[in-house]
Structure formats: C-alpha cells, structure tokens
Amino acid sequence: MMPDLGKYSIYVLGAYGATLFLMAGLVLLTLRRGRAARAALKRIEEETARNGKG
Amino acid sequence: MIALLLRDLRLALRAGGGFGLGLAFFLILTVLVPFSVGPQSALLASIAPGVLWLGALLACLLSLDRLLALDYEDGTLDVLATAPLPLEAALAVKAIAHWITTGLPLVIAAPFLGVLLNLPPQGFGWLVLSLLLGTPALSMIGTFGAALTVGIKRGGLLLSLLVLPLYVPTLIFGAEAARRGAIGMELETPLLMLSGISLGSIALLPFAAAAALRMTIR
C-alpha cells in the first residue's frame, strides 16, 4: 500500500504533512470564525426582533 | 503650490521638524555595518553600493509617518482637501518637500559614507546619480503609503509593512546600477528602469495617494 519513497521519504512526507496541517488549520479556523460570527448575528437579530416588538 | 512647498520646508527645518534625523540614521547605520560584517576592505567595497542604497531607503522610511500625520492632526489636510489646489498637486508638493528635506541630503551624504565603506573610486559618481534618480520614487511611494495609513493610530509600523514591499523594484534597480557602476560594468538598463520608476511614480501615485486620502478624511 505505502509506496516506497526511498531516501527522500522524509522530504516527501514532510511536504505532504506540512501542507495537510496548514490546510486543515485554514479550514478549521475558517469554520470556527464563521460559526462564531453566524451565532453572534443570530443572537443580535433575535434581540433586535424582541426590542422591535416592545 | 510654491507657498505650500515653502511652508512644508520651513516646518521641516524648524526645531522638532525631524530634519537631519534621517541623515543621522543613515550615518549610524553605515558605521554599524563594518561592526556587523567585519572590517575586511574587499568585502566592504563589494557590499558598499547595496548597503548605502538600503541605508538611504530606510532613512527615507523613517520620516514618512510624520509626512502627513501632523497635518492630519491639526486639520491642515481638511483645508487642503477643500482648497482650490487639487489634492493630487498638494500631495505631489508634499512628496517634493519630503524629497528636498530627506532624499537630497541623503544623496549628498552618500559619497562621504562611501569612503567609510571603501567604495571603489569609479563608483562614487554612479552611486550619487542612481540615488538622485531613485530617491524621488522613494519619497513619492512613501507619500502614498502615508496617505493610506494616516487615519490609523500608531500606523508607523504598518506604514513600513506596506511601503517596504513597494520599494522592492526601486531598490533592485537602484542598487544594481550603483553596484555595476562600482565594478565598472555597463549600467544603462538599470539606470533607465530606475528613472522610469521614478517618473512613473511621480506621474501616477499622486492620484492614488489623493484617492486614499479622500477616503480617510471624507
């Protein structure tokens, strides 16, 4: 299954590892910030609706 | 326009205007270089054009955050923005004033500092010429950067972050011209490119700077 990377295995694995780490980090941070922003918006929208009705 | 230029020059020359600060910085930086790389004269001679160009560039950068900040705080910029003189012209004048008070002294000081760094004799003329052609671009690009960051509190560091990448082409062609001049190589191309950058910056960047400034003081 695992291909034989020969003497360069550490470089190839390092490149793939670093990339996956950075991309996963980017996606996770994006999602986390997005969820927080959407939750904050929802909260404040509800508050506005309540205030609007008195 | 002339009145504005004279006013800016007077303000810069007055005590506390920061005149001479860039020059002193340039001197100190040049003196520190041999301490950091060693006193071998051959090494110093080969890096002298690049070091002097970098020093001039950083000295130029040092005074940029004062370029518009003081006028912004006391409301002069609001007056300028509504004055009959187009804001583009006013900013070009400010860039010229910055060049006269910062760029020109650096150009004049550079050959003396070149002596400290063992610059080869044939390099002096070319160093001065390349700085003379390149420093106007540094002032104009810096004015644009100052216009972008003038509304930001403590924008000095940000200003450096924005302006330094924009300085890359000027530095490359300027230092390359000075380097080639010092070792007696053909240097027409970098000199022409350098002049092109300066002329292009002076022609176009006032518009970008004025646009940015209007966005801030709107």
Binding site: K7, L41 | P165, L205
Partner: protein, 243 residues
C-alpha cells in the same frame, strides 16, 4: 437576470448556500483523488526520485496563490467602481487563503529544493517573486485589520491592492533582471509544465482542480462570515441607539 444580482448580499448568500455543498464535496474529492493518486499511484521520476510527488501540492498551491491575488484585484476594482459590499468582503475573505497557499508553495518548494538543489533556499527569480507576493499579502491583511470603519477599510485596501499589483508586477521583472544579473542565466528553476508526461500530468490537473474548488468553497464561506459580521455590527449599533 444579470450577474450583478449577486451583489445583493441576500441573493449572494442564497446562491452561495446552493453552490457551497457541491464545491466542498468536489474540492474534497479533487484533493483526495489528486493527492492520493499522485502520492500512491505515480512512479518516481528517474531524476528526482520520489520528490516528484511534491509537485502535486506545490504547483496547485502556487496557482492559487497567484490567482487569489488576481481575484482580489478584480473584486477590489468592482468595489471601487460599483461599490458592491459583497465584492469588497470577498476580497477580504480571499486574502488569508492566498497567504496560506503562498506559504505552502514556499514551504514545499524549500522541502523539494533541499534534496534536489542541495539548498532550502536560493534567490531564484521565481522563489523571490513568491516571497515578495507573501509580503504583499501580509501588508494587505494588516491594513484590513488596522482600520475600524469597514467601508474605509474596503476603500483603502482596494487602492493598496491596485497599486500593489502594479508594483508586484514591476518587482517580478526587476527580480528577473536582478537575478539574471547575478547568476548569468545559470538558473536553478525547473520548467515544470514542459516535458511532463501524462502519468504525472493527470493527477496534477485533478489536484489543481481540487485546490481551486477548495479556494472557491473557502472564499464563499468566508464571505458569508464577513457579511454576518457586518450585519451583526450594524444591528449592534442600532440596538445601542434604541436602548
């Protein structure tokens, strides 16, 4: 029905909600297939050995790094000319993605360069240009973060993006000239697109497609985030006044 309809945040969000699931799924498939195929299913290059597998990351990342900036430039122009908020926010949303891709491009390039060129870094024109692009991304993002008023921030970053693009292009030519001047044409750069055989080419194209789709999905989602933040901000201001 014109394209400008989507300048309306509500319409944009509705479209984005429909496109996003497809984009995320396709991006994941493209990246898994492209990188998986590249990693497990391609032979070693006779000259580069197994390091050739890094190409399936390096080239797509570099591709996105450049195109993200071009997309930001177009979005900035649209904002300056037509003043559609979605456009300005999309430019803001794309910048960090472009930054990360630039870092990935530089990093994988360095990791590939160490065994192949015997050095992590060389001042080769391509590498240097990417490093400069990295600096431009940093400045652009820092300017966004520094300005409080969102419209002013959008204005100023757009101007920076425009002027920065011109200077980035000039830097590219300056660097070509400068590095040539130093190395006399003894360039280390490897011409990637030429002489590449189909075995490597097909997974590479799939990977590029996957990265591009991931970029689209991320930018759509992040633009949605920025729209929510702006709306929340506006509502908060109004609430303060009413209370």
């Amino acid at each position: 029905m014109s394209l400008w309809e989507y300048a309306n945040p509500v319409k944009f969000l509705a479209l984005s909600a429909r496109v996003q699931p497809v984009a995320w799924a396709a991006a994941l498939t493209g990246i898994v297939v492209g990188l998986g195929w590249g990693f497990f299913g391609t032979p070693d290059d006779f000259r580069q050995g197994s390091t050739v597998k890094i190409i399936y990351i390096h080239v797509p990342a570099a591709w996105i790094a450049i195109n993200a900036w071009i997309m930001m430039l177009i979005a900035s122009l649209i904002w300056l000319v037509r003043r559609h908020h979605v456009s300005a926010l999309a430019a803001r949303a794309a910048a960090p993605v472009g930054l990360v891709m630039t870092v990935i491009g530089l990093l994988t390039g360095a990791i590939w360069g160490q065994p192949m060129w015997g050095t992590w870094w060389a001042w080769d024109p391509r590498l240097t240009s990417f490093l400069i692009l990295f600096l431009f991304y940093l400045g652009y993002i820092a300017l966004w973060e520094a300005i409080e008023d969102p419209d002013t921030a959008a204005d100023l970053t757009s101007v920076l993006c425009l002027v920065g693009s011109v200077f980035a292009l000039m830097s590219r030519y300056a660097v070509l000239f400068w590095s040539q001047g130093l190395h006399q044409g003894a360039s280390l750069s490897l011409d990637k697109e030429e002489n590449i055989s189909d075995v490597f080419w097909i997974p590479l194209v799939i990977s590029i497609a996957g990265f591009t789709l991931l970029f689209i999905a991320l930018v759509l989602y992040r633009t949605g985030t920025e729209i929510s933040l702006r709306r929340a901000r506006a509502l908060a201001v109004r609430l303060d006044k009413e209370l």
